[in-house]
């Protein structure tokens, strides 16, 4: 455990220093090490979003000269502001990673204004030069293409040509995933449909199980998810004997027979690069983003049920994606109400700003956003 040798004397010393120093970080407490703080909105071991970040943090922990602080289940209210301040004042953190989307505005921004010498990096793509302070920044992973590959594999495997998606809320990031999944499957067979069910919250195990069962009842034989903790849906799918594609982290262990592949975050490389730069004293980049091509996102190894044809096609598309500049949303593209959402001749790469205000479900998705 990291703080075994932490004597009471140091505790009092640190308190005195913090009280005297006011807003300056209490560097007496951890003199030589770089103190990095991670803040999660949910539990670290949710087999999902937070676990992906925690796995990255674990890599950072193994680096020398680093002390890692972690706090989980911090709500997106003043709580996170106080947590950040507490990490800075009482523990001497100089680099903070608040990982949940809702931490950015106003919470992280307010705290960043108060502590101009501390660096804050947020997971989400909101940092704008000139609008936000220089000691803040964003790192963002584009995982839509991962769902696209999921869709390709699902398209090959599905026998009923019906896919399912258990989603939390109809926000652009989620809609992008639903659409990418569907578009990927339809490159295999244009008659494939995806049924989406919104549970309304990021983590509601009973609703997610209910949704997964409802989808299976419909004759759907491959599902995927966008919720904070995919564990329940994956296990339910396995029990119903249908296939599943993972998200956030690798859920192969939960569904040994039915797991096809999955779109996982690969935060380790992102965190490592930030921390190394901080250790060397170099300025940290303010806006870092990438997808499969940049190593921010990776695909799970294929499960036993994936046929050779699926692997070949998925690998081929992946190779194209890795070259960069691949676009899934290209015209002409209609939504499931018949409107044209991407004009003919246009194509949006994954980093296109237009995709960040997506409010439609493409043709082939059964369900609505409202």
């Amino acid at each position: 455990m990291a703080f075994d040798g932490f004597s009471r004397r140091k505790l009092l010393e640190g308190t005195a220093a913090a009280a005297v120093a006011g807003t300056l970080p209490a560097q007496l407490a951890f003199a030589k090490d770089l103190v990095v703080g991670f803040i999660y909105v949910g539990p670290k071991d949710d087999y999902g979003y937070n676990q992906a970040h925690a796995e990255g943090a674990a890599i950072v922990k193994s680096m020398s000269g680093i002390k890692v602080l972690e706090e989980e289940k911090v709500a997106e209210t003043l709580d996170v502001q106080k947590t950040m301040q507490s990490m800075i004042e009482l523990d001497g953190a100089t680099l903070l990673f608040p990982t949940s989307f809702g931490y950015f505005d106003p919470h992280m921004l307010r705290v960043a204004e108060k502590y101009p010498k501390i660096e804050f990096r947020h997971c989400g793509g909101l940092w704008t030069k000139g609008k936000h302070p220089a000691n803040t920044g964003s790192y963002f992973g584009y995982i839509g293409l991962g769902q696209y590959l999921n869709g390709i594999v699902a398209g090959h495997v599905s026998k009923t040509k019906k896919l399912g998606f258990v989603a939390a809320k109809p926000i652009p990031q989620v809609l992008q995933n639903v659409n990418s999944f569907t578009l990927g499957a339809r490159t295999v067979d244009p008659s494939i449909t995806t049924q989406v069910i919104f549970t309304g919250e990021w983590s509601l195990p009973v609703k997610e199980a209910e949704a997964a069962n409802s989808l299976a009842d419909q004759g759907i034989d491959v599902i995927t998810v966008h919720v904070d903790g995919p564990k329940v849906a994956m296990e339910t799918a396995e029990r119903r004997g249908i296939y599943c594609c993972g998200y956030h982290a690798n859920q192969q262990k939960l569904a040994p027979k039915g797991y096809l592949t999955g779109a996982e975050w690969n935060w380790a490389s992102v965190y490592r690069s930030f921390v190394e730069k901080a250790q060397k004293g170099e300025p940290l980049p303010n806006f870092v983003r990438g997808g499969l091509a940049e190593g921010f996102v990776k695909m799970s190894p294929y499960g036993p049920a994936v046929p050779e044809a699926a692997r070949k096609q998925a690998d081929a598309v992946k190779a194209q994606i890795l070259k960069g500049g691949y676009s899934v949303f290209k015209g002409p593209l209609k939504d499931n109400r018949g409107r044209e959402v991407v004009a003919s001749g246009k194509a949006f790469v994954e980093t296109a700003i237009e995709l960040e205000s997506m409010d439609y479900l493409v043709e082939g998705v059964v369900g609505s956003t409202a």
């Binding site: 949710d46 004759g219 339910t236 262990k253």
Partner: protein, 304 residues
């Protein structure tokens, strides 16, 4: 399958699945309240039971041992509640909230290492083997706990009506004076009812973690324990009505996702609130002022 039957089967399935924890907690609460005590801590017993069941099943490999552990854990929590409420001047509603907090806290605390692993689950009985449709088959894939719950409800109803023990419980709950006149050990009967009731709530929790949704994490319960208290009022303290009420709630809970599958997705939050609205409406319709709720035990602190 056409839309109507899809939703109907989904509601049936939801009814059978989601209702079981409600069933157990409401029967347990029914027993406790018949004896004149209200136990809001059943939510804590539910969560604790879920955690203990999962953890024990994982550690020992036997889900049945997990079930037993859940019962014992719930009973222990009930013992604390019962013992303290038996002291004078302790408000049992507040105590129930305290037990709920404490039980939930302990469950989350010790349950941390069990969020990730997968524990062996309780087997189900495939009652739908006669059907070709996978939907029907999975809908009728019922857990033995469901039948246990129904059996317990029937047994409890019979006990209340036909046995001396049931009569004693009812007297203690209806009128402490009459009980004292008869020389019944009020404190002991109430304590026992609370302990058994809480143990049943723990069993309901075991269902959550070992049958459906068959996972342990901190968001497992969405207030089922507390809603079950409302269920008991709705059921007029009759264990048989508890069965119907639990089935109704289970169906209401399954309404949201199943409606989305047939394309009705506007306002899904409102559908998720359906069970609670249902209870409120039922309470409004069936309770009138002046006349206290028919069937309510006289000693319950709901009466003022």
């Amino acid at each position: 399958m056409d839309q109507f039957s899809t939703v109907a089967v989904a509601l049936l399935a939801g009814s059978l699945r989601v209702s079981t924890p409600f069933l157990f907690v409401s029967i347990g609460e029914c027993l406790t309240e018949k004896a004149g005590r209200i136990n809001l801590g059943n939510e804590g017993a539910l969560v604790l039971g879920a955690m203990l069941a999962y953890a024990t099943s994982y550690e020992t490999g036997s889900p049945w041992l997990g079930l037993l552990a859940a019962m014992l854990g719930g009973a222990a929590l009930g013992a604390i509640h019962g013992a303290v409420c038996g002291l004078a001047r302790v408000n049992d509603i507040a105590m129930g909230i305290a037990v709920m907090l404490g039980g939930t806290g302990i469950a989350f605390f010790f349950g941390k290492p069990y969020v990730q692993p997968s524990a062996p689950l309780l087997p189900t009985i495939p009652l739908g083997f006669w059907s070709d449709a996978s939907q029907v088959r999975s809908a009728l894939d019922v857990s033995p706990l469901f039948f246990l719950g129904i059996g317990l409800a029937l047994a409890l109803a019979w006990i209340f009506r036909n046995t001396r023990a049931g009569l004693k419980v009812r007297i203690v709950g209806d009128s402490a004076d009459a009980a004292k006149a008869m020389g019944l050990p009020i404190g002991r009967i109430r304590l026992l009812s609370t302990v058994i009731g809480s143990g049943l709530a723990g069993t309901g929790g075991a269902f959550l973690s070992l049958c459906y949704p068959a996972s342990w994490n901190e968001g497992l319960s969405s207030g089922q324990g507390l809603v079950a208290v409302a269920l008991v009022v709705f059921a007029r303290w009759n264990p048989l009505n508890c069965i119907y009420a639990a089935l109704l709630f289970g169906a209401a809970g399954a309404l949201g996702p199943s409606l989305q599958t047939i394309g009705i997705s506007k306002g899904y939050y409102l559908f998720y609130a359906a069970p609670y609205v249902l209870t409120l409406v039922m309470m409004i319709l069936t309770v009138t002022p002046g006349r206290s709720l028919r069937g309510m035990p006289g000693e319950l602190s709901l009466v003022r």
